[in-house]
């Protein structure tokens, strides 16, 4: 069971493991990212970043979709992490149902404009987020569960 779907370009880090972990008590974190999944060193780094109570699966986007839809994680409380909106779009295209996405961390890079403290967007991000909105996804932005949800939907159209 996916209890949180989150966009965070830092993937597994303290905010997720400690900040969300203590609120949601996840048994697993699923990272859906082609680049990380094909890099053994990076995969091990992310796996080492979780606490001992949380198992970590690092999968390419297609593999994540297949395992989630096959019910591999149905018995667990799982957090699904992706680096950006493009991965969410691919998961939707494959047929995964996603109603709400937590926009947790899209950090500053050249060419990106600040929207919120934890959200910087360029045109490509806006386009991808807009597409998510079109498909009925609610975009709630906040870094941590104790913060107020900011609904981004009207800000990206």
């Amino acid at each position: 069971m996916i209890i949180l779907t989150r966009i965070d370009d830092r993937l597994v880090h303290a905010q997720v493991v400690v900040g969300w972990g203590r609120e949601l008590n996840p048994g697993r974190i699923i990272v859906a990212d082609d680049e990380v999944a094909s890099d053994e060193w990076e995969s091990e780094l992310y796996m080492s970043a979780a606490s001992s109570e949380i198992r970590v699966s690092i999968l390419p986007v297609r593999g994540a979709f297949e395992q989630i839809s096959a019910g591999v994680f149905d018995a667990e409380r799982a957090i699904l992490l992706v680096k950006g909106p493009a991965e969410i779009l691919r998961l939707l295209d494959m047929g995964l149902e996603i109603g709400e996405v937590n926009v947790g961390g899209m950090h500053f890079r050249d060419g990106k404009v600040k929207v919120l403290e934890n959200v910087y967007l360029d045109d490509g991000d806006r386009m991808a987020l807009r597409e998510l909105v079109k498909r009925g996804v609610t975009l709630e932005a906040r870094a941590l569960p104790g913060q107020e949800k900011v609904i981004l939907n009207s800000r990206v159209v």
Binding site: V17, A49, H107
Partner: protein, 131 residues
């Protein structure tokens, strides 16, 4: 610089790195071989680049990176930053005793030896005080 010399790069969340360095300096005086970096204003790539630049500028010395939290983004990005460097290492879970010993004992022992010493010092200083 002498062969045994090491520089310190403190990398943390928020203002912790700068405040740790300020506190060290309030105890031992000005320290010119340590730098403090916060992850607050830097994205991952920029942080890695900043750290590597410091390591490269001090290629005659050993670089010890001090990070606050194992598994946090600072420790992740510092791990990436030292990948491929023979004379750079990351120590996570830092505390004031570790930094004070680094600053005061640096140069009295070789890099490998001081790293072992700092880890031991840090661990020994975490204890229950129950008078």
């Amino acid at each position: 610089m002498k062969e045994n010399d090491a520089i310190g790069i403190i990398v943390t969340h928020g203002n912790l790195a700068q405040e740790l360095l300020n506190t060290v300096e309030s105890i031992v005086g000005k320290v010119d071989f340590c730098q403090a970096i916060s992850n607050a204003d830097l994205n991952d790539e920029a942080l890695i680049e900043r750290v590597r630049k410091i390591i490269d500028e001090h290629s005659d010395a050993y670089s010890i990176l001090f990070v606050d939290y194992f598994g946090g983004s600072c420790s992740m990005n510092c791990s990436r930053a030292v990948k491929g460097y023979d004379r750079a290492v990351v120590i996570s879970g830092i505390n004031l005793p570790i930094l004070l010993d680094f600053v005061t004992k640096r140069g009295t022992m070789g890099p490998e030896e001081i790293i072992d010493h700092l880890i031991q010092r840090g661990q020994e200083s975490v204890r229950v005080i129950d008078p």
